[in-house]
């Protein structure tokens, strides 16, 4: 089972991401966080293999800033920056801790992206 952590402060979108992963029984949502600070805390105990990370979060820390710190805790996790900020695409290319970039309006591609990062056949 591939464990997933969702870091998203919009509860409707958090539920949407959960629902998307519930469509593939090989994934299990093991952690939910509304802030990067909380995500850093629970990453130690949930050891997610996939992290869906929003950029603008409830706390002071942004998704891009949190990504390298999450990678230190769970080095093998695939991090997907899932954001409404299209302009972050170029910034993400300079941040090696982020494995994939996806706009929130492209959520239909999320499951396929997570499957690829987890090495699972579609």
């Amino acid at each position: 089972m591939t464990s997933v952590m969702i870091v998203e402060d919009d509860l409707d979108l958090q539920s949407l991401i959960e629902a998307i992963f519930s469509m593939d029984s090989r994934f299990l949502v093991a952690g939910l966080a509304e802030s990067a600070e909380h995500a850093l805390e629970i990453a130690r105990t949930t050891t997610p293999q996939i992290i869906v990370l929003d950029h603008g979060l409830a706390g002071a820390l942004t998704g891009i800033d949190a990504a390298p710190r999450l990678k230190e805790i769970v080095p093998h996790a695939g991090i997907i920056l899932f954001t409404a900020h299209a302009e972050l695409r170029t910034k993400v290319e300079e941040q090696p801790a982020v494995d994939a970039f996806l706009l929130k309006t492209e959520s239909s591609r999320l499951l396929g992206l997570a499957q690829r990062l987890a090495g699972l056949p579609a």
Binding site: D10, D12, L13, S15, L16, A19, I20, M23, G56, A58, A84, H85, E87, L103, K104, T105, S107, S108
Partner: protein, 273 residues
Amino acid sequence: MTDAETLRQDADAAEKADYATAVINILEDLAVERIKVDKANIDLRTVNEAMRSFIAIAAHDLRSPLASMVGYSSLLTENWTTLSEEKRLKFVTTIDRQSQKLAKLVDDLLTLSSIDGGVLNAQPEQIGVTQAISHCLAASGRDMTTVSVSCSPDLVVRVDPLHLGRIIDNYVQNAFKYGEPPVRIEAAQLGSMVEIQVIDHGPGVPPEFESQLFGKFARADVPSARDQKGTGLGLSIVRGLAEANGGQARHRANVPQGSCFAVTLPTGGGPQR
């Protein structure tokens, strides 16, 4: 040198002096104009920057509810037969909630655009302030016991009724979102104007943020604001609506704790609605 030559020389010198003075005047005028153009360029750059920032924030805020709607509708379309009735209902309810949020945001942006463009059309009528407050609280669905109202029943304003409702509703919503109960609405005559105040007992507005309070996308970086979802357009709209109706919106601290948001509006005479 003859007298005639001396006279001609003097005339030439005077003409040259006049010419030099004229050139200096033109140069001085040009320098003044140059300063004006430089200032206009700086102002344009500032406006351009503000517009760019406005569009970036608006685009982001529009995209968030849209993302939910697109995501849930895709899930429904692709998995309709495998989803339980309960989940389908939950997803459709979310789409409905987010579409209402999107509609409100678009409405706010269009209102702001009308205000900024100076084309907001106010249709003033005589309105009883007590009735306007009661109507607004009833429409909000809020528990009436959580708000106390102090207003003389004969107070009348001459404003656009929709604008007045929106101003009061915005202030009351903010009082509950960012402030703390008890929330009090007070209205009183102030010369030719009526002042309506919405007072809460929350943490108040940080002094460093006060000057931006009625600006577009204004959201203070304090816990009470961080925990709330909002576009930061509400107070900017309130100010625009107040001014379009010949009034003013302002904030002052509520002593010892909380905020007092006030709007002054022209008093009305004659028959009221």
